[in-house]
Subunit: 228 residues, 2 copies
DNA sequence: GTCACAATCCGGACCGAGGTCCGTTTATTG
DNA sequence: CAATAAACGGACCTCGGTCCGGATTGTGAC
Protein backbone atom coordinates (compact mmCIF):
# COMPACT_ATOMS: atom_id res chain seq x y z
CA UNK A 1 0.00 0.00 0.00
CA UNK A 2 1.39 3.34 -1.05
CA UNK A 3 0.72 6.84 0.08
CA UNK A 4 -2.25 8.29 -1.68
CA UNK A 5 -2.28 11.89 -0.67
CA UNK A 6 0.62 13.42 -2.48
CA UNK A 7 0.45 12.13 -5.99
CA UNK A 8 -0.55 15.48 -7.36
CA UNK A 9 2.99 16.73 -7.56
CA UNK A 10 4.63 13.48 -8.18
CA UNK A 11 4.99 11.68 -11.51
CA UNK A 12 2.38 8.94 -11.74
CA UNK A 13 3.77 5.59 -10.69
CA UNK A 14 3.92 4.12 -14.17
CA UNK A 15 3.52 1.71 -15.85
CA UNK A 16 0.45 3.62 -16.95
CA UNK A 17 -0.68 2.53 -20.41
CA UNK A 18 -0.73 6.10 -21.62
CA UNK A 19 -0.98 5.61 -25.32
CA UNK A 20 0.65 8.29 -27.44
CA UNK A 21 -1.32 11.50 -27.56
CA UNK A 22 -2.95 11.78 -30.91
CA UNK A 23 -3.55 15.49 -31.08
CA UNK A 24 0.04 16.31 -31.67
CA UNK A 25 0.52 19.93 -30.81
CA UNK A 26 -2.28 20.33 -28.34
CA UNK A 27 -1.20 18.41 -25.27
CA UNK A 28 -1.67 20.28 -22.05
CA UNK A 29 1.25 22.53 -21.41
CA UNK A 30 2.69 20.93 -18.33
CA UNK A 31 2.23 17.22 -18.64
CA UNK A 32 2.42 16.19 -15.04
CA UNK A 33 4.89 18.89 -14.36
CA UNK A 34 2.57 21.05 -12.31
CA UNK A 35 -0.96 20.42 -11.08
CA UNK A 36 0.53 21.47 -7.79
CA UNK A 37 -1.41 24.00 -5.92
CA UNK A 38 -4.99 23.04 -6.76
CA UNK A 39 -6.02 21.15 -3.69
CA UNK A 40 -3.30 21.55 -1.10
CA UNK A 41 -4.14 22.36 2.46
CA UNK A 42 -2.85 25.71 3.60
CA UNK A 43 -0.07 24.36 5.77
CA UNK A 44 0.94 21.89 3.11
CA UNK A 45 1.25 24.61 0.50
CA UNK A 46 3.26 26.76 2.86
CA UNK A 47 5.63 23.91 3.65
CA UNK A 48 5.99 23.10 0.01
CA UNK A 49 7.11 26.63 -0.72
CA UNK A 50 9.47 26.61 2.23
CA UNK A 51 10.99 23.36 1.07
CA UNK A 52 11.58 24.55 -2.47
CA UNK A 53 13.14 27.72 -1.19
CA UNK A 54 15.36 25.84 1.21
CA UNK A 55 16.40 23.40 -1.48
CA UNK A 56 17.26 26.20 -3.88
CA UNK A 57 19.35 27.85 -1.19
CA UNK A 58 21.19 24.62 -0.51
CA UNK A 59 21.90 24.13 -4.19
CA UNK A 60 23.27 27.65 -4.35
CA UNK A 61 25.59 27.33 -1.40
CA UNK A 62 26.59 23.69 -1.38
CA UNK A 63 25.90 22.45 -4.89
CA UNK A 64 23.40 19.80 -5.86
CA UNK A 65 25.28 17.17 -3.92
CA UNK A 66 24.64 19.05 -0.72
CA UNK A 67 20.91 18.76 -1.20
CA UNK A 68 20.24 16.05 1.31
CA UNK A 69 16.65 15.31 2.11
CA UNK A 70 17.40 15.74 5.77
CA UNK A 71 19.27 18.96 5.18
CA UNK A 72 16.40 20.38 3.17
CA UNK A 73 13.93 19.36 5.83
CA UNK A 74 16.02 20.93 8.54
CA UNK A 75 16.62 24.13 6.55
CA UNK A 76 12.90 24.44 6.01
CA UNK A 77 12.13 23.71 9.66
CA UNK A 78 10.03 20.75 8.67
CA UNK A 79 10.08 17.04 9.30
CA UNK A 80 11.79 14.69 6.95
CA UNK A 81 8.60 12.81 6.22
CA UNK A 82 7.05 16.00 4.90
CA UNK A 83 9.66 16.30 2.20
CA UNK A 84 8.97 12.80 0.97
CA UNK A 85 5.21 13.16 1.18
CA UNK A 86 5.36 16.28 -0.94
CA UNK A 87 7.92 15.30 -3.53
CA UNK A 88 7.97 11.54 -3.47
CA UNK A 89 11.71 11.17 -3.53
CA UNK A 90 14.91 13.06 -4.09
CA UNK A 91 14.47 13.00 -7.83
CA UNK A 92 11.02 14.51 -7.41
CA UNK A 93 12.33 17.34 -5.30
CA UNK A 94 15.13 18.15 -7.71
CA UNK A 95 12.72 17.92 -10.62
CA UNK A 96 10.41 20.36 -8.91
CA UNK A 97 13.32 22.74 -8.62
CA UNK A 98 13.76 22.59 -12.37
CA UNK A 99 10.07 22.88 -13.02
CA UNK A 100 9.95 26.60 -13.62
CA UNK A 101 12.68 26.63 -16.21
CA UNK A 102 11.17 23.50 -17.71
CA UNK A 103 7.76 25.04 -18.20
CA UNK A 104 9.25 28.17 -19.69
CA UNK A 105 11.10 26.05 -22.19
CA UNK A 106 8.01 24.03 -23.04
CA UNK A 107 6.05 27.19 -23.61
CA UNK A 108 8.78 28.46 -25.91
CA UNK A 109 8.81 25.51 -28.26
CA UNK A 110 5.10 24.74 -28.07
CA UNK A 111 3.74 28.23 -28.42
CA UNK A 112 6.55 30.73 -28.72
CA UNK A 113 7.82 32.54 -31.79
CA UNK A 114 9.51 30.69 -34.65
CA UNK A 115 11.83 29.11 -35.41
CA UNK A 116 11.53 27.39 -32.05
CA UNK A 117 7.77 27.70 -31.88
CA UNK A 118 5.17 26.90 -34.53
CA UNK A 119 5.40 28.66 -37.85
CA UNK A 120 8.75 27.55 -39.17
CA UNK A 121 9.25 24.43 -41.27
CA UNK A 122 9.78 21.32 -39.15
CA UNK A 123 13.43 20.75 -39.91
CA UNK A 124 14.23 24.28 -38.96
CA UNK A 125 12.28 23.90 -35.76
CA UNK A 126 14.24 20.76 -35.01
CA UNK A 127 17.50 22.61 -35.48
CA UNK A 128 16.39 25.40 -33.19
CA UNK A 129 15.10 22.95 -30.65
CA UNK A 130 18.41 21.19 -30.26
CA UNK A 131 20.36 24.39 -30.00
CA UNK A 132 17.97 25.66 -27.37
CA UNK A 133 18.20 22.45 -25.37
CA UNK A 134 21.98 22.47 -25.49
CA UNK A 135 22.09 26.03 -24.26
CA UNK A 136 19.57 25.28 -21.58
CA UNK A 137 21.65 22.32 -20.48
CA UNK A 138 24.68 24.42 -19.81
CA UNK A 139 22.78 26.37 -17.20
CA UNK A 140 21.85 24.19 -14.25
CA UNK A 141 23.66 21.20 -15.72
CA UNK A 142 24.55 20.06 -12.25
CA UNK A 143 20.93 20.10 -11.18
CA UNK A 144 19.77 18.25 -14.25
CA UNK A 145 22.31 15.55 -13.64
CA UNK A 146 21.37 15.23 -10.01
CA UNK A 147 17.69 15.11 -10.90
CA UNK A 148 18.17 12.23 -13.29
CA UNK A 149 16.33 9.17 -12.10
CA UNK A 150 17.87 5.72 -11.98
CA UNK A 151 18.33 3.61 -15.07
CA UNK A 152 14.88 2.05 -14.74
CA UNK A 153 12.99 5.31 -14.81
CA UNK A 154 15.17 7.46 -16.97
CA UNK A 155 12.94 7.12 -19.98
CA UNK A 156 9.62 7.57 -18.27
CA UNK A 157 10.02 10.97 -16.69
CA UNK A 158 7.15 13.21 -17.80
CA UNK A 159 9.42 16.10 -18.73
CA UNK A 160 11.48 13.88 -20.97
CA UNK A 161 8.33 12.51 -22.57
CA UNK A 162 7.22 15.97 -23.57
CA UNK A 163 10.55 16.81 -25.12
CA UNK A 164 10.82 13.56 -26.96
CA UNK A 165 7.26 13.74 -28.15
CA UNK A 166 7.87 17.17 -29.56
CA UNK A 167 10.79 15.87 -31.55
CA UNK A 168 8.67 12.98 -32.73
CA UNK A 169 5.94 15.31 -33.98
CA UNK A 170 8.42 17.42 -35.89
CA UNK A 171 10.05 14.32 -37.33
CA UNK A 172 6.72 13.01 -38.58
CA UNK A 173 6.30 16.16 -40.58
CA UNK A 174 9.83 16.08 -41.92
CA UNK A 175 10.33 12.37 -42.60
CA UNK A 176 6.91 10.71 -42.53
CA UNK A 177 8.25 7.47 -43.88
CA UNK A 178 10.62 6.85 -40.98
CA UNK A 179 10.09 5.23 -37.60
CA UNK A 180 9.84 8.59 -35.94
CA UNK A 181 9.21 7.28 -32.47
CA UNK A 182 12.52 5.50 -32.32
CA UNK A 183 14.29 8.19 -34.26
CA UNK A 184 13.17 10.71 -31.69
CA UNK A 185 14.85 8.69 -28.97
CA UNK A 186 18.04 8.83 -30.94
CA UNK A 187 17.92 12.57 -31.33
CA UNK A 188 17.13 12.97 -27.65
CA UNK A 189 20.24 11.00 -26.88
CA UNK A 190 22.36 13.70 -28.42
CA UNK A 191 20.84 16.21 -26.02
CA UNK A 192 21.09 14.10 -22.90
CA UNK A 193 22.39 16.27 -20.06
CA UNK A 194 24.72 13.53 -18.93
CA UNK A 195 26.28 13.39 -22.39
CA UNK A 196 26.53 17.15 -22.60
CA UNK A 197 28.21 17.18 -19.23
CA UNK A 198 30.63 14.46 -20.22
CA UNK A 199 31.61 16.10 -23.46
CA UNK A 200 31.91 19.65 -22.26
CA UNK A 201 33.11 19.27 -18.70
CA UNK A 202 35.02 16.01 -18.81
CA UNK A 203 36.33 16.06 -22.38
CA UNK A 204 36.55 19.79 -22.75
CA UNK A 205 34.74 20.09 -26.06
CA UNK A 206 33.36 23.53 -26.80
CA UNK A 207 29.61 23.88 -26.81
CA UNK A 208 29.74 25.10 -30.38
CA UNK A 209 30.94 21.72 -31.50
CA UNK A 210 27.95 20.04 -29.91
CA UNK A 211 25.73 22.53 -31.67
CA UNK A 212 27.35 21.83 -35.00
CA UNK A 213 27.00 18.14 -34.42
CA UNK A 214 23.31 18.58 -33.71
CA UNK A 215 22.73 20.54 -36.89
CA UNK A 216 24.65 17.93 -38.82
CA UNK A 217 22.69 15.12 -37.25
CA UNK A 218 19.38 16.74 -38.10
CA UNK A 219 20.62 17.12 -41.64
CA UNK A 220 21.59 13.50 -41.89
CA UNK A 221 18.42 12.22 -40.37
CA UNK A 222 15.83 14.55 -41.81
CA UNK A 223 17.95 16.61 -44.15
CA UNK A 224 17.33 17.70 -47.69
CA UNK A 225 17.35 15.00 -50.36
CA UNK A 226 15.83 12.21 -48.35
CA UNK A 227 13.99 9.32 -49.89
CA UNK A 228 15.32 6.10 -48.29
CA UNK B 1 43.19 9.58 1.20
CA UNK B 2 41.78 6.70 -0.78
CA UNK B 3 42.46 3.03 -0.78
CA UNK B 4 45.36 2.17 -3.00
CA UNK B 5 45.50 -1.56 -3.02
CA UNK B 6 42.60 -2.69 -5.13
CA UNK B 7 42.62 -0.54 -8.17
CA UNK B 8 43.66 -3.34 -10.43
CA UNK B 9 40.14 -4.53 -11.01
CA UNK B 10 38.41 -1.28 -10.58
CA UNK B 11 38.03 1.50 -13.11
CA UNK B 12 40.51 4.24 -12.27
CA UNK B 13 38.98 6.84 -9.99
CA UNK B 14 38.78 9.52 -12.61
CA UNK B 15 39.36 12.29 -13.26
CA UNK B 16 42.45 10.65 -14.68
CA UNK B 17 43.80 12.58 -17.65
CA UNK B 18 43.70 9.50 -19.87
CA UNK B 19 44.15 11.09 -23.26
CA UNK B 20 42.35 9.38 -26.14
CA UNK B 21 44.08 6.31 -27.49
CA UNK B 22 45.69 7.20 -30.75
CA UNK B 23 46.18 3.79 -32.35
CA UNK B 24 42.60 3.15 -33.39
CA UNK B 25 42.14 -0.55 -33.87
CA UNK B 26 44.98 -1.75 -31.74
CA UNK B 27 43.89 -0.99 -28.22
CA UNK B 28 44.44 -3.81 -25.80
CA UNK B 29 41.54 -6.18 -25.88
CA UNK B 30 40.11 -5.56 -22.46
CA UNK B 31 40.61 -1.92 -21.68
CA UNK B 32 40.48 -1.96 -17.93
CA UNK B 33 38.06 -4.81 -18.00
CA UNK B 34 40.43 -7.40 -16.71
CA UNK B 35 44.04 -7.07 -15.47
CA UNK B 36 42.66 -9.00 -12.55
CA UNK B 37 44.67 -11.91 -11.54
CA UNK B 38 48.21 -10.70 -12.20
CA UNK B 39 49.25 -9.52 -8.78
CA UNK B 40 46.63 -10.76 -6.36
CA UNK B 41 47.60 -12.54 -3.23
CA UNK B 42 46.41 -16.12 -3.07
CA UNK B 43 43.70 -15.49 -0.50
CA UNK B 44 42.56 -12.40 -2.34
CA UNK B 45 42.17 -14.29 -5.58
CA UNK B 46 40.25 -17.04 -3.85
CA UNK B 47 37.92 -14.57 -2.21
CA UNK B 48 37.41 -12.77 -5.47
CA UNK B 49 36.31 -15.97 -7.11
CA UNK B 50 34.06 -16.82 -4.19
CA UNK B 51 32.47 -13.39 -4.38
CA UNK B 52 31.77 -13.57 -8.08
CA UNK B 53 30.27 -16.99 -7.69
CA UNK B 54 28.12 -15.90 -4.78
CA UNK B 55 26.98 -12.83 -6.67
CA UNK B 56 26.07 -14.87 -9.71
CA UNK B 57 24.09 -17.22 -7.54
CA UNK B 58 22.25 -14.35 -5.94
CA UNK B 59 21.41 -12.88 -9.32
CA UNK B 60 20.07 -16.23 -10.41
CA UNK B 61 17.84 -16.78 -7.43
CA UNK B 62 16.79 -13.30 -6.38
CA UNK B 63 17.38 -11.13 -9.44
CA UNK B 64 19.80 -8.27 -9.71
CA UNK B 65 17.97 -6.32 -7.06
CA UNK B 66 18.74 -9.00 -4.54
CA UNK B 67 22.44 -8.52 -5.00
CA UNK B 68 23.17 -6.61 -1.85
CA UNK B 69 26.77 -6.02 -0.98
CA UNK B 70 26.14 -7.45 2.44
CA UNK B 71 24.30 -10.44 1.05
CA UNK B 72 27.10 -11.19 -1.38
CA UNK B 73 29.65 -10.89 1.39
CA UNK B 74 27.68 -13.20 3.63
CA UNK B 75 27.05 -15.73 0.87
CA UNK B 76 30.75 -15.83 0.15
CA UNK B 77 31.65 -16.09 3.83
CA UNK B 78 33.68 -12.94 3.62
CA UNK B 79 33.65 -9.55 5.26
CA UNK B 80 31.82 -6.67 3.70
CA UNK B 81 34.96 -4.61 3.44
CA UNK B 82 36.50 -7.27 1.23
CA UNK B 83 33.79 -6.87 -1.36
CA UNK B 84 34.40 -3.16 -1.59
CA UNK B 85 38.15 -3.48 -1.61
CA UNK B 86 37.97 -5.90 -4.50
CA UNK B 87 35.31 -4.28 -6.63
CA UNK B 88 35.22 -0.69 -5.52
CA UNK B 89 31.49 -0.41 -5.39
CA UNK B 90 28.30 -2.14 -6.39
CA UNK B 91 28.65 -1.05 -9.97
CA UNK B 92 32.12 -2.55 -10.06
CA UNK B 93 30.88 -5.87 -8.78
CA UNK B 94 28.03 -6.04 -11.24
CA UNK B 95 30.34 -4.99 -14.04
CA UNK B 96 32.73 -7.76 -13.13
CA UNK B 97 29.83 -10.18 -13.43
CA UNK B 98 29.28 -9.02 -16.99
CA UNK B 99 32.97 -9.07 -17.78
CA UNK B 100 33.08 -12.48 -19.36
CA UNK B 101 30.27 -11.84 -21.80
CA UNK B 102 31.72 -8.41 -22.44
CA UNK B 103 35.11 -9.72 -23.42
CA UNK B 104 33.61 -12.34 -25.66
CA UNK B 105 31.68 -9.65 -27.45
CA UNK B 106 34.72 -7.45 -27.79
CA UNK B 107 36.67 -10.32 -29.26
CA UNK B 108 33.89 -10.93 -31.73
CA UNK B 109 33.80 -7.47 -33.20
CA UNK B 110 37.51 -6.75 -32.90
CA UNK B 111 38.86 -9.98 -34.23
CA UNK B 112 36.05 -12.34 -35.12
CA UNK B 113 34.69 -13.26 -38.53
CA UNK B 114 32.89 -10.72 -40.72
CA UNK B 115 30.55 -9.00 -40.98
CA UNK B 116 30.96 -8.26 -37.27
CA UNK B 117 34.71 -8.57 -37.31
CA UNK B 118 37.25 -7.07 -39.72
CA UNK B 119 36.91 -7.87 -43.38
CA UNK B 120 33.52 -6.46 -44.25
CA UNK B 121 32.95 -2.88 -45.40
CA UNK B 122 32.50 -0.48 -42.50
CA UNK B 123 28.83 0.25 -43.01
CA UNK B 124 28.05 -3.41 -43.01
CA UNK B 125 30.09 -3.91 -39.87
CA UNK B 126 28.16 -1.10 -38.27
CA UNK B 127 24.89 -2.77 -39.13
CA UNK B 128 26.05 -6.07 -37.72
CA UNK B 129 27.43 -4.40 -34.63
CA UNK B 130 24.13 -2.82 -33.69
CA UNK B 131 22.18 -5.99 -34.25
CA UNK B 132 24.64 -7.92 -32.14
CA UNK B 133 24.47 -5.39 -29.34
CA UNK B 134 20.69 -5.40 -29.35
CA UNK B 135 20.61 -9.16 -29.14
CA UNK B 136 23.20 -9.15 -26.41
CA UNK B 137 21.18 -6.60 -24.50
CA UNK B 138 18.15 -8.82 -24.35
CA UNK B 139 20.12 -11.41 -22.43
CA UNK B 140 21.15 -10.11 -19.01
CA UNK B 141 19.29 -6.87 -19.56
CA UNK B 142 18.51 -6.73 -15.90
CA UNK B 143 22.14 -7.04 -14.96
CA UNK B 144 23.21 -4.41 -17.44
CA UNK B 145 20.68 -1.99 -16.04
CA UNK B 146 21.72 -2.69 -12.49
CA UNK B 147 25.36 -2.27 -13.41
CA UNK B 148 24.82 1.15 -14.92
CA UNK B 149 26.72 3.78 -12.99
CA UNK B 150 25.18 7.05 -11.89
CA UNK B 151 24.65 9.92 -14.28
CA UNK B 152 28.11 11.33 -13.65
CA UNK B 153 29.98 8.25 -14.65
CA UNK B 154 27.74 6.76 -17.26
CA UNK B 155 29.90 7.92 -20.11
CA UNK B 156 33.27 7.07 -18.64
CA UNK B 157 32.90 3.37 -18.07
CA UNK B 158 35.73 1.51 -19.82
CA UNK B 159 33.44 -1.01 -21.44
CA UNK B 160 31.32 1.72 -22.95
CA UNK B 161 34.44 3.49 -24.18
CA UNK B 162 35.50 0.44 -26.11
CA UNK B 163 32.14 0.02 -27.77
CA UNK B 164 31.82 3.67 -28.64
CA UNK B 165 35.35 3.83 -29.92
CA UNK B 166 34.69 0.91 -32.20
CA UNK B 167 31.71 2.68 -33.68
CA UNK B 168 33.81 5.79 -34.10
CA UNK B 169 36.50 3.92 -36.00
CA UNK B 170 33.96 2.39 -38.34
CA UNK B 171 32.32 5.75 -38.86
CA UNK B 172 35.59 7.37 -39.78
CA UNK B 173 35.94 4.89 -42.58
CA UNK B 174 32.38 5.32 -43.75
CA UNK B 175 31.88 9.07 -43.39
CA UNK B 176 35.28 10.65 -42.95
CA UNK B 177 33.91 14.14 -43.35
CA UNK B 178 31.64 13.93 -40.30
CA UNK B 179 32.30 14.56 -36.63
CA UNK B 180 32.57 10.86 -35.95
CA UNK B 181 33.31 11.19 -32.27
CA UNK B 182 30.00 12.85 -31.56
CA UNK B 183 28.16 10.79 -34.10
CA UNK B 184 29.35 7.67 -32.36
CA UNK B 185 27.74 8.85 -29.15
CA UNK B 186 24.49 9.24 -31.00
CA UNK B 187 24.59 5.76 -32.38
CA UNK B 188 25.50 4.37 -28.98
CA UNK B 189 22.40 6.04 -27.63
CA UNK B 190 20.22 3.84 -29.76
CA UNK B 191 21.82 0.79 -28.17
CA UNK B 192 21.66 1.97 -24.58
CA UNK B 193 20.44 -0.90 -22.42
CA UNK B 194 18.13 1.42 -20.52
CA UNK B 195 16.49 2.48 -23.76
CA UNK B 196 16.21 -1.07 -24.99
CA UNK B 197 14.63 -2.03 -21.70
CA UNK B 198 12.19 0.84 -21.86
CA UNK B 199 11.12 0.15 -25.39
CA UNK B 200 10.85 -3.60 -25.20
CA UNK B 201 9.74 -4.21 -21.63
CA UNK B 202 7.83 -1.05 -20.79
CA UNK B 203 6.43 -0.14 -24.20
CA UNK B 204 6.21 -3.64 -25.58
CA UNK B 205 7.90 -3.01 -28.89
CA UNK B 206 9.27 -6.11 -30.57
CA UNK B 207 13.01 -6.41 -30.78
CA UNK B 208 12.78 -6.62 -34.54
CA UNK B 209 11.54 -3.07 -34.68
CA UNK B 210 14.58 -1.87 -32.78
CA UNK B 211 16.76 -3.76 -35.19
CA UNK B 212 15.04 -2.20 -38.18
CA UNK B 213 15.41 1.20 -36.61
CA UNK B 214 19.11 0.59 -36.16
CA UNK B 215 19.60 -0.40 -39.77
CA UNK B 216 17.63 2.61 -40.86
CA UNK B 217 19.66 4.90 -38.63
CA UNK B 218 22.93 3.59 -39.98
CA UNK B 219 21.58 4.19 -43.46
CA UNK B 220 20.62 7.73 -42.69
CA UNK B 221 23.85 8.57 -40.97
CA UNK B 222 26.36 6.72 -43.06
CA UNK B 223 24.21 5.35 -45.82
CA UNK B 224 24.71 5.31 -49.54
CA UNK B 225 24.61 8.63 -51.35
CA UNK B 226 26.18 10.79 -48.71
CA UNK B 227 27.99 14.02 -49.42
CA UNK B 228 26.70 16.63 -46.96
C1' DG C 1 -19.19 32.49 16.00
C1' DT C 2 -18.17 27.91 17.53
C1' DC C 3 -18.24 23.10 17.84
C1' DA C 4 -17.35 18.67 16.36
C1' DC C 5 -15.75 15.58 13.03
C1' DA C 6 -13.27 13.81 9.16
C1' DA C 7 -9.65 14.37 6.05
C1' DT C 8 -5.21 15.64 5.66
C1' DC C 9 -0.78 16.61 7.16
C1' DC C 10 3.21 16.53 10.31
C1' DG C 11 7.36 14.83 12.49
C1' DG C 12 10.85 12.08 13.77
C1' DA C 13 11.90 7.31 15.09
C1' DC C 14 13.16 3.53 12.36
C1' DC C 15 15.09 0.53 8.65
C1' DG C 16 18.11 -1.11 4.98
C1' DA C 17 21.86 -0.48 1.96
C1' DG C 18 26.08 1.57 0.24
C1' DG C 19 30.41 3.02 1.54
C1' DT C 20 34.48 3.97 4.97
C1' DC C 21 37.90 3.07 8.58
C1' DC C 22 41.23 0.93 11.11
C1' DG C 23 43.05 -2.59 14.29
C1' DT C 24 44.15 -7.36 13.33
C1' DT C 25 45.51 -11.35 10.56
C1' DT C 26 47.80 -13.60 6.83
C1' DA C 27 50.64 -14.38 2.72
C1' DT C 28 54.99 -13.56 0.73
C1' DT C 29 59.89 -12.78 0.50
C1' DG C 30 64.63 -13.27 1.70
C1' DC D 1 61.72 -17.43 10.85
C1' DA D 2 61.39 -12.55 10.91
C1' DA D 3 59.70 -8.51 8.56
C1' DT D 4 56.81 -6.20 5.52
C1' DA D 5 53.18 -5.40 2.55
C1' DA D 6 48.70 -6.74 1.56
C1' DA D 7 44.20 -8.41 2.77
C1' DC D 8 40.62 -9.07 6.15
C1' DG D 9 36.39 -8.13 8.78
C1' DG D 10 32.95 -5.93 10.91
C1' DA D 11 31.79 -1.80 13.54
C1' DC D 12 30.38 2.56 12.04
C1' DC D 13 28.53 6.48 9.32
C1' DT D 14 25.37 8.65 6.08
C1' DC D 15 21.48 9.00 3.46
C1' DG D 16 17.26 7.71 1.07
C1' DG D 17 12.94 5.97 2.13
C1' DT D 18 8.91 4.18 5.28
C1' DC D 19 5.63 4.25 9.09
C1' DC D 20 2.27 5.62 12.24
C1' DG D 21 0.59 8.11 16.42
C1' DG D 22 -0.62 12.64 17.10
C1' DA D 23 -1.52 17.48 15.64
C1' DT D 24 -3.91 20.81 12.14
C1' DT D 25 -6.98 22.24 9.04
C1' DG D 26 -11.20 22.57 6.34
C1' DT D 27 -16.39 21.63 6.68
C1' DG D 28 -20.97 21.76 7.78
C1' DA D 29 -24.46 22.23 11.47
C1' DC D 30 -26.37 24.93 14.77
Amino acid sequence: MLYAGFMSTVPPPFPTPQEPVDHPELLQLGTGLEADEPCLRADAARNRARLLEAAARLVAERGAEGVTMEAVAAAACVGKGTVFRRFGDRTGLLTALLDHSEKKFQAAFLGGPPPLGPGAPPVERLRAFGIAMLRRSTDDLELQLAAEPGANRRYISPARRVLRHHIEVLLRQAVPEADCELLSHTLMGQLDPALVHHLTKQCGLPLSRLEDAWLDLVDRVAGAGRSR
